[in-house]
Amino acid sequence: MVGELAGNYGNILLMFGFAVVAVGPALIISRMISPRKRSNPVKFLPMECGQVPKGEGRTHFMMQYYAYILMFVVFDVMAIFLYAWGGSILMLPKSATLPLIAFLGIMFAAMAFALYQSQRRNIW
């Protein structure tokens, strides 16, 4: 029967929904009982240490560590791929570890290069 495992995972979503429903009213109540003064436009400026904001809040920024995000995408995949092996390792023959060692070896080499690159901050 299709969909028999979905129920268990559905509870996670239900919990998410419950939390949203349970705490969402706090915002609404807060909005209802808190004072709301619309008098001063300065009040709604973004925080800039008491100065009038200059420039854009969202700018082309923080590129020195962009390498880590690129690396994350790849190595996250690697880490979760390992779970396919680690979860079923008790069922696998011992020779099945060899391809995994090759896999890890290649990834280590890539990681060595990537870490070396991402450490050189002046190029990011």
């Binding site: 070896g105 290649i106 080499a109 890539a110 060595a112 290069f113 070396y116």
Partner: protein, 490 residues
């Protein structure tokens, strides 16, 4: 379980180790290493070629295309493609030595070429759709990077972006096709797929057609077949020329390798209804490619369109394969020849770019005097591409056109295919001749410039190859005959 000394695994091991170690060497980098990287890459490639040849000579390889129950097969079909692609990779690496002299990250560059070469070889060898897809991606993803490797150059970047978008789309479409095939047969191994498709329920046939259509579309993007060719000239023009050689001469062939395997599969499913479609695509492809090539002013771009045209020629063989024994042979032969010819042509252009920094047609006046060896190589490869008799291109074209004529006994459109192909060859001679005229008969005030040594090496090798095999083509024809998969009509 495939043996550990099978050709694809050995190539995977040799090139993989070299490709992975190169960036690590770059970490422990010293200034003088730049040439070393290329030497290491070349060494790995030569070892691989040697191993393939050794396997052929020792005769352990099964002839034709084998559909084993494993993910990779050790067959002659793959071996032929492997040799073709590895030769192009050697061209590309050699041509890059001068090109990469002042560029950054040569180690990564060569490593990516090696990785891409692994992918191409494994595409030819794979007998499982998953393996095919993964190898396809291993072939593609490094080339996306390589196409955009010249970051200072906006053209290279734009070419890479376009190439990436269409390439990603093509691979997405391929996965979709695989998913349809998998759904119909419940397996991804091609031999089992063939079995599954032959016993398919009649109500499922339209889906199988859809699946094979998606395959053709997906691989067609890489091969530059006509409705899917729009990215190709831009990319070939923008990418670094050694990489263009790799793209035009090798990844395209990988597309053909995959197509041939898939087409065999599709033939089982579809009972030959696709052959006419392939024929139409072939005619359209070569016509549009050659006609568009005439109008180009840029050398790279002209050759890009020309390579679209050649995809059409090769496709003829596929289209007539069920009706003519030599059709597929011709295709494979032309694949091998085209790899060398186009590779040599693009490496020659890269030499021109390195030495003179021009690709425009009007600016290569007098190239014959400025860079005689390069110009000679370019001329001979162009002539070979056009199919001028004593050169190797002639024989493969002859075989293809002959097959098309031969199939006329079964299908009515066979001869027409041959006529269109011959007309196109004549057309292509026109613009090739235009280039030669610019090179040799214009521009008097030219004096000789220094030609990059690596390009000269490639030129000499390819001239020997083209002329030699044009004069004495028998061994290659035998080789091709061994490698050609047998077509059985169920």
């Amino acid at each position: 379980m495939i043996e550990m000394n099978a050709t694809p695994l050995v190539i995977l091991g040799v090139l993989g180790v070299a490709g992975v170690i190169l960036p690590v060497l770059d970490v422990a980098r010293r200034e003088r290493f730049t040439q070393m990287y290329a030497a290491l890459a070349l060494g790995a490639l030569f070892i691989s070629i040697g191993y393939v040849g050794y396997q052929f000579v020792s005769g352990v390889i099964q002839p034709g295309a084998v559909f084993s129950t494993d993910v990779l097969a050790n067959d002659a079909f793959g071996g032929l493609f492997a040799i073709a692609m590895l030769i192009v990779a050697v061209f590309s690496v050699t041509g890059s030595i001068s090109y990469m002299r002042n560029q950054k990250y040569p180690a990564v560059y060569y490593s990516l070429i090696l990785l891409s070469a692994i992918g191409m070889v494994l595409v030819a060898y794979s007998t499982d759709l998953v393996m095919l897809f993964v190898a396809w991606e291993l072939m593609s993803i490094p080339t996306y990077v390589l196409a955009g490797f010249m970051k200072r150059n906006p053209i290279s970047n734009e070419a890479a972006l376009k190439y990436f978008l269409f390439g990603a789309m093509s691979s997405a479409i391929i996965v979709y096709g695989i998913s349809m095939v998998y759904g119909l047969t419940g397996t991804t191994n091609i031999s089992e797929v063939i079995v599954g498709l032959t016993t398919l329920d009649a109500s499922m046939i339209p889906l199988a057609i859809l699946a094979v259509g998606l395959f053709i579309a997906g691989f067609g993007f890489k091969m530059g077949l006509v409705p899917f060719h729009m990215w190709l000239p831009d990319t070939y023009e923008g990418a670094p020329q050694p990489i263009t050689a790799l793209l035009a001469a090798a990844t395209k062939k990988a597309g053909f390798a995959a197509t041939i395997r898939i087409v065999i599969m599709g033939m089982a499913a579809l009972h030959l209804d696709w052959a006419l479609a392939l024929g139409v695509i072939a005619v359209m492809t070569m016509t549009i490619g050659n006609v568009a090539a005439i109008m180009q002013k840029n050398l790279s771009r002209m050759l890009a369109y020309s390579s679209i045209g050649h995809a059409g020629y090769i496709l003829i063989g596929l289209a007539v394969a069920p009706y003519s024994a030599t059709g597929l042979q011709g295709s494979l032969y032309h694949v091998l020849n085209h790899a060398v010819m186009k590779g040599a042509a693009f490496i020659a252009i890269s030499g021109v770019v390195v030495a003179l920094a021009v690709t425009h047609l009007d600016k290569i006046k007098g190239l014959g005097r400025r860079m005689p060896i390069t110009a000679l190589g370019l001329t001979i490869s162009l002539l070979a591409l056009a199919g001028v008799p004593p050169l190797n291109g002639f024989w493969s074209k002859l075989m293809l056109f002959g097959a098309a004529l031969d199939s006329g006994s079964v299908v009515w459109w066979g001869p027409w295919l041959a006529i269109a192909a011959v007309l196109n060859s004549a057309l292509s001679l026109a613009y090739y001749g235009w280039i030669m005229r610019k090179m040799y008969f214009e521009g008097e005030d030219a004096k000789r410039v220094r030609e990059p040594k690596s390009v000269i090496a490639v030129m000499i090798f390819s001239i020997i190859f083209m002329v030699g095999l044009g004069v004495y083509p028998d061994p290659v024809i035998q080789f091709v005959e061994i490698a050609t998969p047998t077509f059985t009509i169920p």
